[in-house]
C-alpha cells in the first residue's frame, strides 16, 4: 500500500538511559514489569517524552511483538508445572498478555485512544504500520505511536537453536517506537511511502527497479540481530539523521526466510 506517514520522532531500546526511573516513575509498576515490558514501555515513553513540548494528543497506540512476553509466559508455565497447579502467583500470567506494553503506555499517560497489538511473527511490525498508515490516510488519526518489541530468553534461544535457526542467523532482541504523523511538523521529514508484501524475496536489482530506491537496508544480514520485529529498529536506522540530499531507502525484512516485506522510506 502506498502511503504518507511522516516520522516525527523515534526511540529505540539502544537509546535508553541505564536508569529508567524518569521514564516510568511509578516504582510498583516498574517492579512488576518484566525486562521485556519495562524496555518496551520505557522506549515508548522515551519517544513520547521527546514530544512533550508539543502537548498534542496521540490518536492511536499500535504495538507489535512476534513472540510476546516470553519470560512471563515461561515463568507462569513453570509454576503451573512445578507447583502442580496450586498456589500460583497471578502476576506473570497478567503480564504475559500480548498487549501489555500498549496497555501500560495507556495506563501511564491516561490515553483512552485506539490501542491494539499485532502478534504475527516476522510481520508483526509491518501489520502495525499498515494499520497506522490506513488511519493516517483516512484522517481518523493525525498522530500515532507505533512500536515493536521482542525479547531473547534462554529457553527461546535454546529451542530455536535445536531447530537450527542460529546456523544462519544471530539471535537478538530490542524495542523501537516511532511517532507517525499525517502531516510533517517540519520539512523535510522522513516519510514512509509504501508498505508492500512481495510474494518472494526480491534481489537488490529488482528492489531498486520496483520501488525506485537508491539504498537497501536488509534485516537478514549475518551481522543483524535476528528477532521477529527487528525491522522496526532497522527502520529507525534508515531515518537516522543523514547529511545531504534526500534519498529513498527500501527496508527489507524476510524473517527466517518467510513472508518478505518491503518498507519504502524517503529521508
Amino acid at each position: 500500500m502506498k502511503t504518507h506517514c511522516y516520522i516525527e520522532r523515534y526511540a529505540t531500546s539502544d537509546m535508553l538511559p541505564t536508569d529508567i526511573k524518569a521514564l516510568i516513575p511509578d516504582a510498583t509498576l516498574r517492579r512488576r514489569m518484566s525486562r521485556f515490558v519495562r524496555t518496551g514501555v520505557a522506549t515508548a515513553m522515551c519517544c513520547l517524552d521527546a514530544d512533550s513540548e508539543s502537548g498534542e494528543a496521540i490518536d492511536a497506540i499500535i504495538t507489535a511483538t512476534g513472540f510476546g512476553c516470553l519470560t512471563d509466559s515461561e515463568k507462569f508455565l513453570r509454576n503451573v508445572i512445578e507447583q502442580h497447579e496450586e498456589l500460583l502467583n497471578p502476576t506473570p500470567f497478567i503480564q504475559s498478555t500480548f498487549n501489555t506494553i500498549g496497555a501500560q503506555i495507556a495506563l501511564l499517560r491516561g490515553y483512552d485512544c485506539y490501542n491494539v497489538t499485532y502478534a504475527h511473527r516476522g510481520l508483526s511490525f509491518e501489520s502495525a504500520l499498515l494499520d497506522a498508515a490506513m488511519q493516517l490516510d483516512e484522517g481518523t488519526a493525525r498522530r500515532i505511536l507505533v512500536g515493536a518489541a521482542d525479547e531473547q530468553t534462554p529457553s527461546q534461544h535454546r529451542i530455536m537453536e535445536r531447530m537450527g535457526c542460529w546456523r544462519k542467523h544471530r539471535d537478538g532482541e530490542g524495542a523501537a517506537f516511532l511517532l507517525l504523523q499525517a502531516t510533517p511538523t517540519r520539512e523535510p521529514s522522513p516519510c514512509i511511502e509504501e508498505i508492500d508484501f512481495p510474494e518472494t524475496r526480491l534481489d537488490d536489482d529488482t528492489i531498486r527497479r520496483r520501488y525506485a530506491v537508491e539504498q537497501i537496508l536488509r534485516c537478514d544480514t549475518p551481522q543483524s540481530e535476528c528477532y521477529p520485529t527487528a525491522v522496526a529498529r532497522i527502520l529507525t536506522q534508515a531515518v537516522a539523521p543523514a547529511a545531504g540530499k534526500q534519498i529513498r531507502i527500501a527496508v527489507c525484512n524476510n524473517y527466517m526466510e518467510a513472508q518478505p516485506s518491503v518498507i519504502v522510506v524517503s529521508c
Partner: protein, 392 residues
C-alpha cells in the same frame, strides 16, 4: 463506504457450525460441562468445551500433521465462513485473513515444556514450533487457500472484535476485496490456571449481571465473519456499520468504576455509524459474570442509554468465555440474531444486582432488530464495540 457481512463460521461449546449453535441457543441450552476433558488438570471447574478431541477434529478436517487445537478450531470456523459466503479463494478477489488468538499454540507448548525443563535436549520440537500467535493464523490461511494479506491480533478478550474492526479498514482502503476476520482460542492448563490464580472463576455456571455473580467460566472455540464491500455483494446477512476500540486506561486487569472505556467504545461505534442510542434494538453484552466487569459494563450501559437500556443478554453462560475468540463468536451471534430477528436468552439469571438494576433477556424472543451492538472488553483496558445493522 459500506461493509457487508457475507459469511459466518462458528464453533464453540454451543455446537459445531451455525445450525447446531442456533439450535442450542434457541432451546435455552448451555454447552458447559462440569470439568475439562481434553487435558489433564486438577481443577474440576465448569468450562465451555468443544466436544470433539484433537484427533477427531483433525480426522474431520483430513489433517495428519501436528496441529494446535487453536488452529484446528480456527480451521473449522474459517472454512465454514468461506463456504457460507459462497467464496472461492481461487476467484480473482484478493482475500485476507485477520485472525486473533490469545493462547496461540500454548496447548502444545505446555505438553512440551515439562520434558524441556527436566533436560533442555528433550521435548519434541514439533510441539514447541506452534507456540506463537501467528502459527494458527498461518495454518488457517494454508488450509483455506487464503493467499492474500494475513495477520494476527492479540489484545486479550477483545482480540477477535478488533480483528473485525481492522478487516473493515482493509476493505475501505481497498487493500483487499474480501476479509475472513475473527478469532480462535483453545482451552488449556495455562489459561485455566491463570484465571484461577486471579480468583475470577466461578465454581458454578456463571451468572452475568445477577446479584449473586462471582466469576466467569472459561470456554474455547472460534468464529469468523466474511466481510466484503457492500456494493460488491448480493444478499449479505447485514452491514457492519460501526466499530470502535478505546482504552479504559485504569488498570491492567480490572475495569474502572465508571466504565469509561466500555462507554467510549459503544459511543464511538454509534458515532461511526451515525446512529443514536435510541437506534440500538439489542446488545450482546460482554457480560463475563465477574463482579467487576458486569458492574463497569452496567454503569456504561446506564451512562449511554439512561433508563432506556435496550434488551441485552450475555451468551457466555452458553459458550463460556472464549477469550480471544469471544469477540468473533459474539459478533457471529449478533449477526444471526439480527438476520433471524430473534434474541437469544441469557441463562442462569434470577436476581437483579441492586446497584445496577439491569435485567437481561432471559427467554427466547422473536422480534425484528434494526441495529445490534456486540461488546468485547479485555485485559489492558482494551474495549471494543461492533455495531451490525440491517440494510436500511
Amino acid at each position: 463506504m459500506r461493509i457487508a457481512v457475507t459469511g459466518i463460521g462458528i464453533v464453540s461449546a454451543a455446537g459445531i457450525g451455525k445450525e447446531q449453535t442456533l439450535a442450542t441457543l434457541r432451546a435455552s441450552r448451555s454447552g458447559l460441562v462440569a470439568a475439562p476433558s481434553h487435558f489433564r488438570t486438577r481443577h474440576a471447574l465448569p468450562v465451555g468445551e468443544v466436544a470433539p478431541n484433537n484427533e477427531e477434529l483433525a480426522r474431520r478436517l483430513g489433517i495428519r500433521h501436528c496441529t494446535s487445537r487453536t488452529a484446528l478450531l480456527g480451521i473449522v470456523a474459517a472454512s465454514e465462513a468461506l463456504a457460507d459466503a459462497g467464496a472461492a479463494t481461487t476467484d480473482n478477489r484478493r482475500t485476507a485473513l485477520v485472525s486473533a488468538t490469545s493462547v496461540g499454540g500454548m496447548d502444545l507448548t505446555e505438553n512440551f515444556f515439562p520434558d524441556f525443563i527436566r533436560d533442555d535436549r528433550s521435548g519434541r520440537l514439533r510441539m514447541a514450533a506452534h507456540h506463537d500467535c501467528a502459527d494458527s493464523t498461518i495454518a488457517i490461511a494454508r488450509y483455506c487457500g487464503i493467499d492474500g494479506f494475513t495477520t494476527t491480533l492479540s489484545t486479550a478478550c477483545s482480540s477477535a472484535a478488533n480483528a473485525i474492526l481492522v478487516a473493515s479498514r482493509l476493505l475501505r482502503h481497498g487493500v483487499v476485496d474480501r476479509v475472513v476476520a475473527g478469532g480462535t482460542d483453545a482451552l488449556c492448563r495455562f489459561t485455566l490456571n491463570g484465571f484461577k490464580s486471579l480468583q475470577i472463576l466461578d465454581p458454578a455456571p456463571c451468572r452475568p449481571f445477577d446479584a449473586s455473580r462471582c466469576g466467569l467460566n472459561l470456554g474455547e472455540g472460534a468464529a469468523y465473519l466474511v466481510l466484503e464491500r457492500a456494493d460488491e455483494t448480493r444478499n449479505p446477512y447485514c452491514l457492519l456499520t460501526g466499530a470502535a476500540n478505546t482504552n479504559d486506561a485504569f488498570h491492567q486487569t480490572a475495569s474502572s468504576a465508571d466504565g469509561q472505556g466500555d462507554y467510549l467504545a459503544m459511543r464511538k461505534a454509534l458515532e461511526t455509524a451515525g446512529l443514536s442510542p435510541l437506534d440500538v434494538d439489542c446488545i450482546n453484552v460482554h457480560g463475563t459474570g465477574t463482579p467487576n466487569n458486569d458492574r463497569s459494563e452496567g454503569v456504561a450501559l446506564r451512562r449511554l442509554f439512561g433508563n432506556e437500556v435496550p434488551p441485552f443478554a450475555s451468551t457466555k453462560p452458553v459458550t463460556g468465555h472464549t477469550l480471544a475468540a469471544a469477540g468473533g463468536i459474539e459478533a457471529a451471534l449478533a449477526v444471526l440474531s439480527l438476520h433471524h430477528g430473534e434474541i437469544y436468552p441469557q441463562l442462569n439469571f434470577t436476581t437483579p444486582d441492586p446497584e445496577l438494576n439491569l435485567v437481561p433477556v432471559t427467554r427466547y424472543i422473536r422480534r425484528p432488530i434494526r441495529n445490534i451492538l456486540s461488546n468485547s472488553f479485555g485485559f489492558g483496558g482494551n474495549c471494543t464495540a461492533l455495531l451490525f445493522s440491517n440494510r436500511p
